[in-house]
């Protein structure tokens, strides 16, 4: 049924509206050797683009040669334009070796003080580079064009992560600028095996995109799969990484995220070291990594910055929390409307006492409260930050308290709903938490119709769905199903670092061992002339 609706929508997109994604072929030709022709053509292309600057000037050679500089204001660093391009070209070009007759070569080799300069003869490429922050230098009589890297302009600095907060650990987060993001990873992985492959996506936006992986660790099949799926992407434009992720993930028919979205360079580095592939999209601080496993959604980078005892305990706590977040309202509804004999007598009496005079059945009560809570949460996020907090406090305290004292809901239900809400905040994977919030409602419905039997039915359906999922070919429920017990060292609990000798089996199988064995601290050995601990033997 849903498939059919979906197909109709898709067809209407394909044939109905017919977006023209081809950019026209007026500038697909070669660069002309006459400057005037080139400028005329470019002025045609950039007609109405007031931010494109055309600067015509003469080279400071003995016989002045006409030249032109093109760039987009705001994308370039003006200091570099003034000091490293205009100044040497206008003043110093002629004072060099007069024997060089090729003016183009002279300018490039003797005058231009810019680190990264490309050459091209293709007009299409020139336009593209200008638009991505390069300065194009045309010289009369030359078919070649110099593209100087003077990218700059305004961008956000590296700040603290906002959605993946840790108490201890690095406080850097990715920004919107692709090159900054790559540098943040490169700084942590000083190794030529870290490969960065650039490509562009989006017919109109021409968004830069980088694929990062560590050669020698990554499974080539995954790399190939990532590239194939990215090749398939043929869109008008991609503004955020999430929209790209939805196209390249294995299936859309699931509430669960099949791609990790992270904004932490340290997390990304660790994932690359496990053999994963990262996809960075320019303009988004959220980086995609694949493949992803179910269990990772419950792991925070905090786990690795704390001792393994507390980290493991907190991880187990999160398991409890997802059960609460998913099931608590349903259990309450099921037990209080179908299985009262399961409650201890004093609890039954106090629940019954609390419900006395509440006009709705428990299910309606739970549904209303849950929806109210979700509305409050959404309002808290959407509102400007100072107002957002006020709304959540007013909502939680005032509405909850007023509803109870008005006798519309029972105090027990307020406890249940707030506990559920708070438990869902402990889940590190934000998209995963959203999925659980959503799934809570169908399970609640099942609980209200069939009781605990309905909850079990819902959970079994959920389990079947989860084991059927794949993320870039990797079974989503791994290492639980299929069971790879070796990987359980970092699943439900976190073993100490010296015990995590191997990489995750399915992902990092190409180079399974990541550190030496036997790194655990031990008392000094007597034979080797150490301090000789008498208690060691």
């Amino acid at each position: 049924m849903f498939n059919r609706i979906f197909r109709k929508v898709r067809d209407s997109i394909k044939y109905g509206t017919g977006i023209n994604v081809s950019g026209g072929d007026e500038h697909q030709s070669q660069v002309d050797s006459r400057l005037d022709n080139n400028l005329q053509r470019l002025k045609g292309i950039f007609e109405g683009c007031a931010d494109v600057v055309f600067r015509e000037f003469s080279l400071g050679t003995e016989e002045p040669v006409r030249a032109a500089l093109l760039f987009v204001e705001g994308l370039v660093e003006m200091v570099a334009i003034n000091e490293n391009i205009m100044k040497p070209l206008m003043y110093e070009a002629g004072h060099r070796n007069p024997a060089i007759t090729n003016i183009f070569k002279l300018v490039k080799e003797k005058a231009l003080t810019i680190g990264k300069v490309n050459e091209t003869t293709n007009m299409e490429e020139v336009v593209e580079f200008i638009l991505s922050g390069y300065a194009a230098i045309f010289i009369d009589g030359s078919q070649q064009v110099m593209l100087a890297h003077v990218r700059g302009g305004e961008h956000r600095a590296v700040e603290e992560p906002s959605s993946e907060v840790v108490v201890r650990g690095p406080r850097e987060a990715f920004t919107e600028t692709l090159h900054t993001n790559i540098s943040l990873v490169r700084r942590r992985l000083k190794n030529p095996d870290l490969k960065v492959e650039m490509r562009k996506v989006g017919r109109r936006t021409k968004t830069d995109l980088a694929i990062l992986y560590i050669k020698g660790i990554v499974n080539e099949k995954i790399i190939r799969e990532v590239k194939e799926r990215l090749n398939r992407v043929d869109v008008d434009g991609t503004v955020a990484s999430r929209s790209l992720g939805e196209i390249i993930q294995d299936t859309s028919w699931t509430p669960f995220p099949l791609i990790t979205y992270t904004e932490r360079p340290d997390k990304l580095t660790a994932q690359l070291l496990e053999g994963r592939v990262a996809i960075m999209v320019d303009g988004t601080p959220i980086i995609l990594t694949v493949p992803v496993l179910f269990m990772e959604q419950l792991q925070s980078s905090e786990d690795y910055y704390e001792g393994f005892f507390p980290a493991s305990a907190i991880r187990l706590l999160r398991f409890m929390a997802i059960n609460i977040a998913l099931l608590l309202p349903s259990l309450y509804v099921a037990v209080t409307t179908f299985h009262q004999e399961m409650l201890p007598t004093p609890l039954l009496i106090s629940l019954a006492g609390a419900r006395e005079g509440v006009p709705f059945p428990a299910f309606v009560e739970a549904l209303v409260m849950e929806i109210t809570f979700e509305i409050l949460r959404e309002a808290g996020i959407r509102l400007p930050r100072p107002a957002g907090q006020a709304v959540s406090i007013v909502g939680a305290l005032v509405i909850g308290d007023a509803a109870v004292s008005a006798g519309i809901v029972s105090p027990a239900m307020v406890i249940i709903v707030s506990l559920t809400g708070i438990a869902s905040f402990t889940i590190p994977g934000y998209s995963f938490a959203l999925a659980l919030r959503l799934l809570r409602f169908p399970i609640m419905f099942l609980a209200a119709t069939l009781g605990l039997f309905g909850i079990m039915m819902g959970l079994i359906f959920l389990l079947i769905h989860l084991v059927s999922l794949r993320s870039f070919g990797m079974p989503y429920m791994s290492p639980i199903a299929p069971a790879t017990y070796g990987d359980w060292k970092d699943t439900f609990v976190r073993f100490p670092w010296w015990a995590m000798v191997t990489r995750p089996r399915l992902i990092g199988q190409k180079d399974p061992v990541r550190q030496a064995r036997g790194l655990q601290p031990k008392p000094p050995d007597k034979d080797k002339g150490g301090s000789g601990n008498p208690g060691s033997r």
Partner: protein
């Protein structure tokens, strides 16, 4: 039918199954009448009179929130009475009396009145054991007098007398002078080879708490030197006239109710009850008091015991041997005689003799007077001599009272504590 169409129909079918069944058999907890206690009496019309204790959750909830303005006058329960020719008849009649559905799953106790128990409870038990929702872990007890009155008892600080009595039975092992049996065990015994069960005995006793007694004195209305009976009467009068403080009813859980088949034969007093517990190996903890070497009282707390009932055929005659192995802690010494290795064996013998006396008291009443094999001797014979049992099974009721029972008790003082000598005044000199 195409695959897609079939899939569509399957999904619709599943949705309809969920929606059409609706919330079948849904019961909101505030629509339930939670039953905590059931009392069954024999009415003058020979009908079964049934009284149930129903919880008022809102009263308890109000109390939990901090009094709610001294709502102490509200009882946390109300009692409903109905009667019928049978148990189920009586149960169903409650629907004509109560706006809420009876919910039996949380029932704690079932109390039989003395009259009903003497008439026989087999037919009632049949109906009870068939009732769905009623748990098999409820306590079975017999009230001396009317069972209904027990449900009206006030046991501070609990609000629900049935629940409080349930707690009392659970805590019986501290003193071990009362008997506790749940429905499951009661039925098991009743249908076994010695079908003579024992149930708890509960007795209502009207008395005054100290608090009330003193309050009256402070008011200056009670005269000094007045007898206790006068004071009670006085308070009763006060209560009646002013409707203020009512005389509180409390209950005593002690002794046991002895059945023969399904009919109540009579009562065991605390000593006999303990004797029974010794034989059945149900003795947990309890104080044993003996006369010490100098005639003073000494108390020992039994901590662990083992009992063995061994039937033996000796020269064609059936003999029961009851062996008890008991261990205890030294608890209290009223005199000033320290326990020493020299006097311990003698004291241990005295403890054993005290235990033996309890057992013999139980045997005397159970075997000779009531002629009811509550001790499970028949079942022991059945286990040990299945062939012979077949032959004597029919005559067991005649044989049992004449049965010779040999009692052997061994007692051991395990711990005599850290204090070697009692704190005798001037003892250090």
């Amino acid at each position: 039918m195409s695959l897609r169409r079939r899939r569509f129909l399957t999904v619709m079918f599943l949705i309809f199954v969920l929606l059409l069944s609706g919330c079948w058999s849904r019961r909101e907890i505030d629509d339930l009448a939670i039953v905590t206690g059931i009392a069954l009496d024999l009415g003058p019309d020979n009908k079964v009179h049934m009284t149930i204790q129903l919880v008022k959750p809102e009263v308890l909830a109000k109390r939990a929130q901090g009094g709610g303005g001294g709502g102490n006058a509200d009882k946390a329960y109300w009692l409903l009475e109905s009667h019928g020719l049978t148990f189920v008849d009586a149960v169903r009649k409650f629907n004509t009396l109560s706006p809420r559905q009876l919910f039996l799953a949380h029932n704690v106790i079932i109390i039989f009145g003395e009259d009903l128990a003497r008439r026989g409870i087999a037919s009632t038990l049949d109906r009870i054991s068939r009732t769905k929702n009623l748990r098999r872990t409820i306590w079975v007890m017999v009230a001396k007098g009317k069972a209904r009155e027990v449900l009206e008892a006030e046991l501070e600080p609990e609000y629900l007398s049935a629940v409080a009595i349930g707690h009392m039975i659970e805590g019986r092992e501290v003193y071990s002078q009362s008997y506790g049996i749940d429905l499951k065990d009661f039925l098991r015994v009743l249908t076994g080879s010695s079908p003579n069960p024992v149930a708890s005995r509960i007795e209502l006793r009207k008395e005054f708490t100290n608090r009330e007694f003193w309050e009256v004195d402070e008011d200056g209305q009670g005269e000094a030197g007045q007898g206790e009976e006068d004071a009670k009467e006085h308070i009763n009068k006060e209560a009646r006239t002013q409707g203020r403080e009512q005389a509180k009813k409390s209950v005593v859980l002690t002794g046991a109710a002895v059945f023969k088949k399904d009919k109540l034969m009579g009562w065991f007093d605390p000593t006999e009850t303990r004797g029974l517990l010794w034989i059945q190996g149900k003795m947990r903890r309890g104080i044993i008091i003996i006369n010490g070497p100098e005639g003073e009282k000494m108390a020992f707390e039994s901590i662990r015991s083992k009992s063995e009932v061994v039937p033996k055929i000796h020269q064609g005659k059936l003999i029961m041997r009851v062996k008890i192995d008991e261990e205890n802690d030294f608890a209290e010494d009223m005199g000033f005689v320290p326990l020493t290795p020299e006097n311990i064996p003698g004291i241990e013998k005295k403890i054993a003799a005290a235990i033996q006396k309890d057992i013999e008291a139980a045997l005397r009443k159970g075997q000779k007077e009531y002629k009811s094999d509550i001790f499970g001797f028949g079942a022991a014979v059945h286990r040990k001599y299945p062939q012979q049992w077949k032959a004597i099974k029919g005559r067991w009721e005649e044989l049992f009272p004449q049965l010779e029972v040999q009692v052997e008790v061994k007692s051991k003082i395990r711990r005599r504590g850290m204090s070697t000598e009692p704190p005798k005044p001037g003892g250090k000199e």
